[in-house]
Symmetry: D2
Subunit: 346 residues, 4 copies
């Protein structure tokens, strides 16, 4: 039985990790840290966990933690992760880091979008934790950089097209919409119920969202050339879910049937990627609470563009679910263990 710890358990990713792990047959949640709630049961912070998780939150004293668990999920803000992760690795622990600190391979790019990187030497060892692309590498690493929520939806959506060279990378426009849990659990006027409900808005328009370098890194690797994207995030009045609508000009004379077939074949054996039948489209309410990524395809013959639409649950496949998927791989458990639950509908 693997002993697992969550560092930073009081956010929405933390409670989702605790939920998934509470029924995982191969591991046991032994540590949950929270400065704010230290000494209180995690189930009093999140009453959904009553009678399911009995752990008490504790302060993140790394020496103490290392005695209690073998694998850690670091669900802390970027910068804080850089301070914690090296210590855990040195202590021989495996880490799935949910921050941005180890996703960008090039420290210079990281520093351009974030702040100075304090342990660039770890970047070469960190594996970008998208199992559908890097399954093998994840299996062998001690440090997985769990992808961002938007990037997960985008990279899975565009990978086959870019790998085949079916689209012109210059023309990629990504219009993404995220549920409000993506904004975290800090008190803030902007995410109060009354500010969000019955409304919709864009934010960080014009190429300023910090998930852009992460997406461009991976899309460029897939395309075999530099890719620059237009990316616009929006805030949906829902808790969970991301839907990304992606546009690109089709090169050559590839048609929709070919693309549909490509996606179905590419993702056939993936337990969590579900390609919609021709004519069908994904919806966030059909992946809610699950580790699934649904993808739908449609061509616009009038303009020669392909439209790819992908849907994930941003807390699950976009964070905690994918993190457990990575943990499974890193520890030799069957990849889908604890994650095969179908989405909740309605």
């Amino acid at each position: 039985m693997l002993r697992v710890g969550i560092i930073g358990a009081s956010g929405y990713t933390g409670v989702e990790l605790a939920r998934i792990l509470s029924t995982h047959p191969d591991c046991e949640l032994t540590v949950a840290t929270s400065r704010q709630y230290a000494g209180k049961p995690l189930a009093s912070v999140f009453p959904s966990l009553r009678k399911r998780v009995s752990l008490i939150c504790e302060n993140p004293d790394l020496d103490v933690l290392c005695d209690k668990a073998d694998c850690f999920f670091t669900a802390v803000p970027h910068k804080t992760a850089m301070e914690i992760v090296p210590f855990l690795l040195e202590a021989g622990k495996k880490v799935v880091d949910l921050s941005a600190d180890f996703r960008i391979h090039d420290a210079a790019v990281y520093e351009q979008w974030y702040q100075p990187h304090t342990c660039p030497q770890l970047l070469a060892d960190a594996v970008y934790g998208l199992p559908e692309l890097y399954r093998k590498q994840i299996t062998g690493t001690a440090l997985t950089a769990n992808p961002g929520c938007y990037p997960t939806s985008v990279i899975l959506g565009l990978a086959p097209l870019l790998q085949e060279g079916f689209i012109d990378p210059e023309t990629i426009i990504i219009d993404s919409k995220s549920g409000t849990s993506g904004a975290g659990r800090s008190a803030s006027v902007a995410t109060l119920f009354c500010e969000v409900t019955d409304g919709f808005r864009a934010y960080k328009v014009g190429g300023s969202h910090r998930h852009i370098p992460e997406m461009e890194q991976e899309l460029s690797l897939l395309a075999g050339r530099d890719v620059t994207i237009s990316f616009t995030p929006h805030l949906l009045p829902i808790s969970r879910g991301i839907l990304s609508t992606m546009y690109a000009s089709l090169g050559g004379d590839v048609d929709l049937d070919t693309i549909q077939e490509l996606y179905e074949k590419k993702y056939e054996d993936e337990p969590f990627v579900r390609v919609c039948a021709p004519g069908d489209l994904p919806a966030t309410q059909h992946v809610r609470g699950s580790n699934c990524c649904d993808i739908g395809l449609q061509a616009d013959q009038r303009t020669g563009r392909i439209i790819v639409i992908s849907a994930i649950d941003n807390i699950a496949k976009g964070a905690a679910g994918q993190a457990v998927q990575n943990m499974n791989l890193m520890h030799g458990f069957p990849e889908a263990t604890g994650l095969m639950g179908a989405p909740f509908f309605p």
Copy 2:
């Protein structure tokens, strides 16, 4: 591996049953009927089931069905259930009926609130499927009458008080609020998104809701005398969840501490009933997607009343989850099999 069928799979109870059963280790979903969608994959009716349930909907031809499964969930309207269940029982099948047809022990009472009963002879054999009260009987029956959603929240909430005689049964007032999934999946203007969202209303006020005789039957049995209640249902702009606020005058000099202790002891070993800590109160968002029933207690010293508040997920503990709990008991599986997932939050 138990072969299980769902008769009436195209409603919200149907999809929840399919979801729960899709990861249940001891049974396999082998039949799903729907007149409307016969011939179509259940996963095309409910795309949430993509890659999780591959069953094709079929017409409810009882002879054919009986060859395909050993246990059936009848998730059909009352009256239809009375027509199907006798046939299934005669064929030696076990049945969890989710309609109202076998919940009321007294056919005369049933007929007063519904319509003529066509197989009253089965009423004596049917067990009211609330495991917390009738665990033993359920274990031995071939026909479980799965409780209504409101009654589940109310009976679990009031049982200890009535059993101990701590409240005056004449004074019980129950103000319940249900999510919209309780209204079913039929096309109707009244439950369109725009009619329900950002709104709230009562319905069937003044003692006319058909769950009343079911509640009064069970509350009377618990109290050992006839109980007549005031019950007002309301429609919440949420998908899943029932919260019942129950008022009654305290008899004698019983205090809140005693009652809190009573509930904690009574429900201590129940996997799905969670008594809130003193001062805490339940919320539907903390039981969402789970088979849990959370109960909170508070006294109003100014008026000598006790207020009991219970929360369930109406599709889960209020329907499909409880039905699977009953199926587990009827087939000797551990009672909580497939149902221990913690609620989804947020």
Copy 3:
């Protein structure tokens, strides 16, 4: 043209006052104070006011304010109101106070539920601002204590029954549900979108909500005797709206028809109270954005109880709308000026 000021303009009551006043033909909004946003346009705090309100927020310097307006809405927390209102009155201004500070006639009662009262001498002059009960007195006062949102829904709902002595005051139970705007606009985890949406809960159960003494004061005056109530507030996942479900035992042999007739007659000429037709029930979505209070009636013959259900928009009739109604009366404008807009549906 009356010059009007809002002290405390950055909350939801503030923006609703600004919205209503922006098209009021007889007055002009000349002052809006906010410590937090001083120096910023009110329309940058609330972009809904773009091109409709051009006022800049200013610090609440009372001397300066008094030069700029003749009538003030004090939309500040209780205790702060007590500090400001005496100054405004002495300066010859008229005041509609939206806090609780002048609603309770008896300073001792106020102090029991709130804190020491620093200007009890004003209590005798303050008029409880429910126009349907105190129209005449409001017309002649310089200080109106605008009622709380729950009390507005409850008092209008029960007034006719209590005045006629049709119910037993000992048996009154009030189960109220409020939209989240009632919790204000301060940053707080408990009212984040993800904590509230798709959920429902009770709070301050057991006779602890501070609106209780206000309701009991007015209900007692109507009944001509002391009235003690059980009152349970709940939090709805909607922005605006309160629905109160009120239970009481009917005295004597009064029937529903008589009560229906009583309400229709009592409220016949009221522009903002709308009695539902027999069999109809109110809904918050049918009063949204308006100054209306809808009331529906139903009897439960099985238990001898009457159920009264009332619905208001808590920011409108429950706060800002009623405040403008009071201002109209205090200044001799037709009472409904600026307030006759029908509710928004959907």
Copy 4:
């Protein structure tokens, strides 16, 4: 006092027209037709209209109607409008048609997207009812074709850029999101509360939405050349509101400041178009319940694209509000009469 009729009053556009007209000082609602609800008060169909609208719904008998009103809003499906409008015009009535039947100037284009046009001779007289573009022509016409909701948000958003030739029309991609009221008030499973809430999806992807020819017609006129667009509509879990995110490549070396200035100047005197301050972005919750269209601008220097975001209330500026604006123009009333109410927030 102008007598006004609504043909097809039982939909969401109908109730919004009735709401706006109920306080309009220059006209009186004298007719509301509904086959389904003939003989019932409109306020029993829409209880929000209690005590505000006393009209009884009647069957659409055109001879009778013509005696009762001088101006009609035809809020009926396309095709039905073509059958009614010629009759009304011949009877000397003025008409604001809210269907698509008279929006497309070229009958051949109309027939390609809809069905055969039965009165193409009227197309030359019909004016496209976007006052910001066609104010003068609307003033002089008897038949205004009220724009579609999506086209209103898109055309107002792109007009200045196209008129100035600042963008490459080949590169326009429009990603729009609409509230569910746009789907109408017919009973349908797809728009049930439980299917829509807490979810998000695209529909009619790939150039198949019928608003496309209408948008392309107007954008082409603005650009002075043929414009073909990619347009993807999405369904938001809100009642009211459209937000369109529009992408295009900037031609030449025009910068964001220039564009911001262009928009501010272009829309300076428009009562209903509000250009956001630099850095600000529109949100549907900031135009809710109003006739406003808010527009925000941002450049993506990394890709050389401009992103224009516009927000309207689809029932107001996208339908009923704009229809009243057109009626005002057609009858010589001040254009903004009855429409200057600020949006509802929260």
